[in-house]
């Protein structure tokens, strides 16, 4: 063949290339060059970020944060760009940001026990000295099911156990007091589903009122506001924060010290206590790190003390800046975890209302849902099923929100994901496959923009993979799972404590769990690189296999009428149960080896470890919570009925319930709201 013919053929072939592909090929040389530099610059929502690209080991080896393939064949390079690409570029297989955020480990600070004060102390204890406050909140089961604490014994025993008891907006204010909820370095996650809209409304009001407090102080309005409060309210009847010694912190006194106590350790933080609630006569004090923010308007709303237009302005600003996540994933509740309280349809409507409210009020730093595979995995699903069901649930929310007329780019960035990482090989690519499927779907199916294409997810190591025998070995499992997660570029990570299999974790075990992440992030040399999985034959093969398996599951769900149709036939539930049984059988026969459980037993046969003591809430805490909610109801009793009626009317008129809930929670407790909604939205109907 003549060279001219070859050139002609070349030009013909080139015409068959899609413009996008052509562009990628043309850019490659520049990309290689970009990653050779010592620094990397990129844009995050209009902000220029410049970060170092290399790290030097003790031996002097320069380790780059991102390594690119050394392929020569343009086809290999193009395929890599189309299916993998550098972190931060479509299809985001290796990660949704070019580089990890500096100075912020993805570590979350987990707490939830007793009443709001105890949990608040714990939050301050675990976050003290950390630049970023990433608080994860566990609620007690009374709260998870939308009820108020009460003396009825079947309720009483659960108040404040395995989570914090939160029944009112004032409880939420105490819970997060001393953390500026609108600070860019604070982010709060709330593990709540059935009553998520109510808890979210508590939280948002707490955030707004904190900003009102700041406004009052910054504008020297304290005296004025104090006078107003004293004229309108009986100060003794307003709720109080109770310190560790059982003494209350006096409302107005706290306001007076506010101007002088910017220092958390300031002795003036110790103030005269007021003993109507506590019965004690000592001095109440705040935990180290708590500057009292959020407590000055306890029992009131900023709207009661500030002019309406000022309040609305502060509210708008607070909503636009507050950062966090609420789990609120009702589909996985019906499929795996069972904390549904409302009929599924009504629960979905509530979620849609929250999302609509977020769009209208520009709540852009808060995830309205954490689409969770964790509980599906904990109930026994294998990693492929976990991923497939979870993504399918995510797309179900997308379809529902679209059907309500919302724009994909207005809500997709408010969605986040939550997966479990266990020991199975597929866990090494769970983030890669999730990001890839999400990005391709968003771009080509829903024509969404780049921001919407980025799937962000939280990982918690598998609780189910921890065992009650040889519990010391559990940290080893968690370490390996954490390594999977960090190599896979998760956006947030929670490592379980080794004793979680037998009891509520202690301070010692939680510290060890946090050390696991810190050791990987700060000590492990290969983790300084941010794309260690790219280019590994095993990882690439697994990625393709898991992607194909997930798509096959989508087909099976689709044949059953989609996620909701499949749920009606209990398809997901049954599949999860079968997979759980398969695991249990394999574990029992020893075909699936578990060290210290069914193999490599110690001299004594590796017996089950029983906890020596269990952390439970005290009756004093329970009584206090019951009293708090009773007093709250008494304080607002004149308005309760009217506010609940208003809420019902919104349902009947098919209006936005979350907009109304933002007002309802100022005067009504969680249980009052839940019961009102039952009567107009329907209670969850159990299935078998």
């Amino acid at each position: 063949m003549q060279i001219n013919e070859l050139k002609k053929k070349y030009d013909q072939l080139k015409k068959q290339l899609h413009p996008d592909a052509k562009k990628l090929m043309e850019q490659w040389a520049a990309i290689l060059k970009q990653y050779e530099s010592d620094f990397f610059e990129f844009d995050v929502r209009g902000k220029k970020i410049k970060q170092e690209l290399t790290y030097q080991s003790l031996s002097g080896t320069k380790i780059s944060k991102v390594y690119l393939p050394k392929y020569k064949d343009w086809g290999d390079i193009l395929k890599w760009q189309l299916q993998e690409n550098v972190p931060g570029e479509f299809p985001f297989t290796a990660g949704v940001f070019p580089l990890k955020r500096e100075g912020e480990d993805p570590t979350r600070m987990f707490a939830g026990e007793g009443g709001p004060e105890r949990t608040n102390r714990r939050f301050h204890y675990v976050s003290l000295g950390q630049p970023a406050k990433r608080l994860s909140t566990a609620f007690d089961s009374v709260t998870l099911y939308g009820e108020d604490p009460a003396h009825r014994p079947d309720i009483y025993g659960k108040v404040g156990n395995s989570g914090v008891s939160i029944a009112t907006v004032d409880d939420a204010k105490k819970l997060y007091s001393g953390f500026d909820l609108c600070d860019a370095k604070t982010s709060v996650s709330m593990t709540i589903n059935g009553p998520a809209p109510m808890l979210l409304a508590f939280f948002m009001n707490a955030a707004i009122d904190q900003q009102c407090e700041k406004y009052i102080i910054e504008n020297n309005l304290r005296e004025e506001v104090n006078k107003l409060i004293e004229s309108k309210y009986e100060i003794e009847k307003l709720p109080k924060y109770i310190s560790e010694d059982g003494n209350a912190i006096h409302h107005t006194l706290l306001q007076k010290i506010a101007s002088t106590s910017n220092n958390a350790n300031d002795v003036t933080n110790v103030v005269e206590s007021e003993n109507s609630l506590s019965g004690g006569g000592g001095a109440g004090y705040l935990p180290e790190g708590n500057d009292g923010l959020g407590l000055r308007l306890l029992g009131l709303s900023g709207e009661d003390v500030l002019p309406k237009e000022v309040y609305e302005k502060i509210k708008a600003h607070a909503l636009a800046t507050v950062r966090g996540t609420v789990q609120a994933d009702i589909l996985k509740e019906d499929q795996a975890q069972n904390t549904c309280i409302f009929s599924t349809e009504f629960a979905l409507k509530l979620m849609g209302d929250v999302q609509e409210y977020f769009i209208e009020n520009k709540v852009q730093n808060f995830y309205s849902v954490s689409i969770s595979g964790y509980h599906i995995a904990e109930a026994g699903a294998n990693p492929i099923t976990q991923l497939a069901f979870t993504l399918a649930n995510g797309f179900t929310y997308v379809e529902y929100y679209l059907s309500r007329g919302m724009n994909i780019d207005d809500f997709a960035p408010n969605l986040s994901f939550f997966f479990s990482n266990g020991m199975d090989p597929e866990y090494s690519v769970i983030g890669r496959v999730a990001r890839k499927i999400w990005a391709k779907t968003m771009k080509y199916k829903y024509r969404a923009n780049s921001r919407s294409q980025k799937l962000k997810y939280h990982i918690q190591t598998s609780g189910r993979s921890l065992h009650a025998q040889e519990i010391d070995f559990n940290d080893i499992r968690t370490t390996l799972q954490a390594l999977y997660a960090i190599y896979d570029n998760c956006n947030s990570l929670h490592t379980n404590a080794y004793d979680e299999a037998i009891t509520t974790p202690t301070e010692e075990s939680v510290r060890r769990a946090m050390a696991i992440q810190l050791i990987i992030n700060r000590e492990l040399g290969t983790a300084k690189n941010e794309n260690p999985n790219q280019g590994a034959f095993l990882i690439e093969e697994l990625t393709d296999l898991v992607e194909a398996a997930v798509l096959a599951e989508f087909e099976r769900l689709s044949e059953r009428g989609g996620v909701l149709g499949a749920m009606e036939r209990m398809y997901q539930r049954n599949k999860i149960q079968e997979e759980s049984l398969y695991y249990e059988t394999q574990k029992h026969t020893g075909d699936y080896p578990i060290v210290g459980v069914n193999t490599f037993l110690n001299k004594n046969g590796s017996p089950t470890i029983l906890p020596t003591e269990v952390i439970r809430s005290t009756s004093k805490e329970k009584e206090f919570q019951i009293k708090s909610v009773t007093l709250f109801q008494e304080r607002h009793q004149q308005k309760t009925a009217m506010m609940l009626k208003r809420l019902q009317d919104v349902v009947v008129a098919n209006g936005n319930l979350f907009t109304e809930l933002m007002e309802t929670v100022k005067y009504c407790s969680l249980g009052q709201i839940t019961h009102t909604l039952y009567s107009v939205g329907g209670e969850y109907r159990r299935n078998m």
Partner: protein
């Protein structure tokens, strides 16, 4: 004579209040059933009051609960207290909660009178089957039938759990008749103690239909509307589920779906057919008679869904309703359904399913044909379109009105009260709003999108490879020149 062990063991199973962990209790209930017990399964998140009410109404031997969320000491003690307060101390309580219930707490609960809490160690020593056999053995020691029938006569306002009728006596009478005992004494006693405002006639509604049609949901929605509309009236529901021929056990699964039944004005009893090929228990007639004697104002009998030809419920009821879904196959299938010829009202439930309008058309045609109603307008036919899963469904509201009309027409009973309608959240005829029917293939479409992208990627890469190779050859040829 102790004939207890020969009788069916009946057990309520549930997970504790605010507790969603139902995996263990689901395994337990299956094994209990396979050992021949009749199981009334309540599912997760059940309060002590709901469980005790169920235990008394269903006249069970035992209650088996799992509790993994803490608060178990208070929970189990409260259950024991509530049973004792209502003179039902004979009902045994079993529980388990893995490692969450500490050894000391187990001891404390046993001392309090809880029959048995099983620890993880018990599980290892006895095995799952061993534990279940232990439960059954302990239950069979319960002596339900006194030698002499004693009728303590409580004042009419102090029935068990504050219910409006004497649920304990009703429950026991049904158990006796199920076990072939004479219940004349009970019936007379119930009549004597019934509220004076007894109506002349208590209408009985029969509900039947295919399995999976949503009978229990429809029943629940009717009960809710009845209780809301007639605030001084009482209702009894007798629900029949099939027994397993092989084991003799039965899963009485209707109660788990009933959200409205835990009212002092409602009684519910689940019966097993005790013969697997029947849709009804032999003792339905007696059960109805007992409920009437106790003074219930309205009775619903819900039958197990077996076969298209079954119409046995008609013998026992004043009016009947057939519940079906749009998914019955070809229109010719409708010709085989006997109940379409006999039912007073037909309910096409799950009307949000595709093909619902075709189903409505077919059923109307079949109904006209079998009733010779050639000239009746479609809207006048007693065919309701419902989505029971949808709260305050407009279709169910209409169905309820039709049923009350039929009752008035056929039995001349009119319950006094206002049927108060809240504004309908949505109309049944409107399509389900969560995922519009035309979007229901979304997951398949996503799979197609991704597969198409992957194929396209491979094609583009293949072109790029060829270009690379050509480029290499051209360069090589240029060099050789």
């Amino acid at each position: 004579m102790n004939f207890v062990s020969k009788n069916k063991i009946r057990i309520v199973t549930a997970a504790a209040l605010f507790d969603g962990h139902d995996a263990a209790i689901n395994i337990m209930r299956r094994i209990l059933q396979s050992k021949g017990a009749e199981i009334i399964h309540l599912g997760h998140n059940r309060s002590v009051h709901e469980i005790v009410e169920c235990a008394i109404e269903e006249d069970v031997h035992g209650i088996a609960i799992t509790s993994y969320q803490g608060g178990h000491v208070e929970f189990f003690k409260y259950m024991k207290d509530l049973l004792n307060e209502n003179d039902c101390g004979h009902i045994k309580i079993f529980g388990g909660g893995g490692g969450t219930i500490l050894p000391g707490e187990i001891k404390e609960l046993h001392n309090y009178g809880i029959t048995r809490i099983y620890s993880p160690d018990d599980g290892r020593q006895m095995g799952l089957e061993g534990m279940i056999e232990d439960v059954i053995n302990k239950c069979s020691e319960t002596f339900l039938f006194p030698e002499v029938e004693v009728f303590e006569t409580p004042a009419s306002d102090s029935f068990a759990l504050g219910e409006n009728r004497d649920i304990k006596k009703v429950a026991r009478a049904i158990t006796l008749t199920e076990n072939g005992k004479n219940i004349t004494g009970y019936i007379n006693n119930l009549k004597e103690n019934s509220p004076k405002i007894l109506m002349h006639k208590c209408p009985v509604l029969g509900i039947t239909g295919t399995g999976g049609a949503g009978k229990s949901s429809v029943t629940d929605e009717i009960v809710r509307r009845f209780l809301n509309a007639y605030t001084d009236k009482t209702i009894a529901v007798i629900s029949v589920d099939p027994s397993k021929k092989k084991t003799g056990g039965a899963l009485l699964g209707d109660r788990i779906r009933m959200n409205s039944i835990s009212s002092p004005r409602a009684y519910m009893r689940s019966l097993a057919t005790r013969e697997s090929d029947k849709a009804l228990s032999k003792y339905v007639r007696e059960a109805i008679e007992i409920c009437k004697a106790a003074g219930y104002d309205f009775i619903i009998v819900e039958s197990a869904g077996v076969g298209q030809s079954d119409a046995s419920i008609l013998e026992y009821v004043d009016i009947s309703m057939y519940v079906m879904t749009p998914e019955y196959g070809a229109p010719s299938q409708l010709e085989k359904i006997n109940m379409l010829d006999y039912a007073d009202v037909i309910c096409i439930n799950k009307f949000d399913k595709t093909g619902a309008l075709d189903a409505l058309h077919d059923v109307r045609k079949q109904y006209k044909r079998s009733h010779g109603l050639w000239n009746t307008k479609d809207e006048e036919l007693p065919i309701a379109r419902t989505i029971a899963a949808q709260f305050n469904d407009a279709g169910i509201n209409e169905l309820f009105e039709r049923l009350m009309e039929k009752i008035a027409e056929k039995t001349s009973v009119q319950f006094n009260g206002e049927i108060e309608h809240q504004a309908h959240v949505k109309n049944t005829v409107s399509q389900s709003t969560i995922i519009p029917p035309k979007r229901v293939r979304y997951l398949a479409e996503i799979a197609e999108t991704i597969t198409a992208y992957n194929t396209w990627t491979d094609e583009q890469a293949a072109i790029a490879t060829k270009l690379y190779q050509l480029d290499g050859v051209i360069k090589m040829m240029n060099e050789e020149k």
